[in-house]
């Protein structure tokens, strides 16, 4: 059991030990970091590929359909993502004549870069983290804001009215939702007394691994809900997929993108979806903590549960309007978040005064 729990850690130790026999220390470090980051990116992309497949299957089932089930020789259409990827790569790469070419081409790269960089601080399991920096949360918030710039670049650089509308909507929305998101993160930080992702998870360790902050009623629960709602907006998922809004502004900021550039946006969106689910898991659902099963299994179970909820929402809900969305952020989530932070602080003070914590 213990071997299974630390499977990936042991693998890493064995690999590092192997290299250390005939390489200097600094090179071992560089190589192991490179290997970890390549593994992270590849794993993320592979997960994303089959996440699109999973979404199609789940939404299909919600709509009484089978979903993709034809591509390739594997059952259940398991090769559909490969077919999609090949299609992305072989499609013609079109740059509009009037587009601002540098900005237009840079935007998808920036988007994917920003979202992949987030993976560095996600704790996938006990000790399984790219970089356990002390201010992991801060890094995360800072990096996720980068995508707003990517969206604006895409919207502006394509020189299309629809994409401009989409880009503007995206920026307005992302900036507004950073605030309630930050406020709910603050609650988790206050409860765990740390900015490091690993330590936040460790703080949720008691009660057979079920001492999750989401169960800290009311503050933790509320913070979890506000976080999840803001996260949906942050990654443009339904019902907040306003910047794309295919029925209004026809995919918004990426209307002019074709082929692999569109593919990069697509990947970035799903990587973002995985990241926010992972962060929600880390902050409020106890990360990799849980009874019996190995930590990384717990982590992925929770992440996929959240992803399922996202897909379920997408299969059910219509889209809000941009002004209603901003209203929700500023009139509901921000006040609730602020009150929640104050309540948490008050609670901690009272607990401390009573000597319970």
């Amino acid at each position: 059991m213990a071997a299974l729990n630390d499977l990936f850690l042991n693998l890493q130790r064995w690999f590092v030990g192997l290299l250390a026999r005939f390489l200097p220390d600094w090179l071992v470090m560089v190589i192991s970091m490179l290997v970890v980051s390549v593994m992270l990116i590849v794993t993320a992309l592979v997960i994303v590929l089959w996440l699109t497949w999973l979404e199609r299957k789940i939404v299909g089932r919600i709509q009484d359909r089978y979903g993709a089930n034809r591509a390739g020789f594997l059952p259940f259409g398991l090769l559909q993502p490969i077919a999609d990827a090949v299609k992305f790569l072989t499609k013609e790469d079109i740059v509009p004549r009037e587009a601002d070419k540098v900005v237009h081409l840079l935007a998808p790269v920036l988007m994917l870069g920003a979202s992949v960089m987030l993976l560095a601080v996600v704790p996938f399991g006990k000790g399984m983290i790219g970089a356990d920096i002390d201010i992991g949360i801060l890094y995360l918030v800072a990096m996720s804001s980068l995508s707003a710039i990517g969206l604006l670049m895409a919207g502006w650089g394509s020189n299309n009215k629809y994409s401009l509308l989409g880009g503007m909507r995206a920026v307005a929305m992302l900036l507004s939702y950073e605030i309630p998101m930050g406020l709910s993160i603050v609650v988790a930080v206050m409860l765990s007394k740390s900015l490091s992702m690993q330590r936040i998870v460790e703080a949720q360790g008691g009660w057979f691994g079920l001492r999750w902050f989401a169960f800290f009623f009311p503050v933790g629960t509320l913070a979890f809900l506000t976080y999840f709602v803001s996260a949906l907006a942050e990654v443009n998922r339904s019902p907040f997929d306003i910047p794309e809004a295919d029925s209004e502004i026809v995919a918004g900021y990426f209307i002019e993108y074709s082929g692999i550039k569109f593919g990069l946006f697509f990947f970035a969106e799903y990587v973002n979806a995985i990241v926010v689910s992972s962060v929600a898991t880390t902050l409020f659902l106890g990360g990799w903590q849980g009874p019996i099963l190995p930590p990384y299994v717990w982590f992925f179970l929770k992440v996929f549960a959240l992803l399922f909820v996202m897909m379920w929402f997408r299969g059910t809900l219509p889209r809000l309007r941009i002004d209603q969305l901003m209203g929700l952020a500023w009139k509901v989530l921000v006040p609730v978040g602020l009150a929640n932070v104050m309540l948490t602080g008050l609670g901690i003070a009272i607990f401390r005064a009573l000597g319970w914590a």
């Binding site: 709509q63 009484d64 359909r65 089978y66 379920w312 059910t316 809900l317």
Partner: protein, 157 residues
């Protein structure tokens, strides 16, 4: 109450999701609705109007059609043409009959107009071809479709 209506909607969709795996009951309304086309096929209903077909004369085995051209005149779009016949009076039978399925409306007015019940709308519905020329059916092909149709025994509901 904020969220209650949304929760109701979510319950509906989750229920559909569940039913596609664990649904039961005889009604078509439950569970998955998609027909996996090439493997599964829905049988056309008895009155379904597919391609035109020429029915065979039970005595001679040849076409029943007497080349009277009423169908040609009735057709709103003019997809029936080139009708030729041989013989006189009651013995007259069609020798050629061109039917352009690319233009056909599948309205069935020709069949209604036919005084000899020599043509019918068959149940052929997989009618795609690779060329425009192949869309024009001649008498031989129409009689073939008619034979298949008669074998299925679905001439009249």
């Amino acid at each position: 109450m904020l969220g209650l209506g949304i929760a109701k909607g979510l319950a509906v969709t989750l229920n559909h999701f569940r039913k596609t795996y664990f649904g039961s009951g005889p009604s078509k309304g439950r569970g998955l609705f998609t027909v996996q086309y090439p493997e599964e096929r829905l049988a056309p209903l008895a009155r379904f109007r597919g391609s035109l077909a020429h029915l065979a004369d039970p005595e001679t085995g040849g076409p029943r059609c007497t080349a009277c051209r009423i169908c040609e005149r009735t057709c709103p779009v003019g997809c029936i043409s080139g009708i030729e016949g041989e013989g006189r009076g009651r013995e007259r039978r069609a020798t050629q009959y061109l039917y352009n399925i690319g233009e056909c409306l599948f309205c069935g007015l020709c069949v209604e107009a036919c005084p000899f019940e020599a043509i019918a709308m068959s149940h052929e519905y997989e009618l795609a071809t690779y060329s425009h020329d192949a869309l024009v059916y001649d008498l031989r092909k129409l009689a073939e479709i008619g034979k298949k149709y008669a074998l299925e025994g679905k001439e009249e509901a």
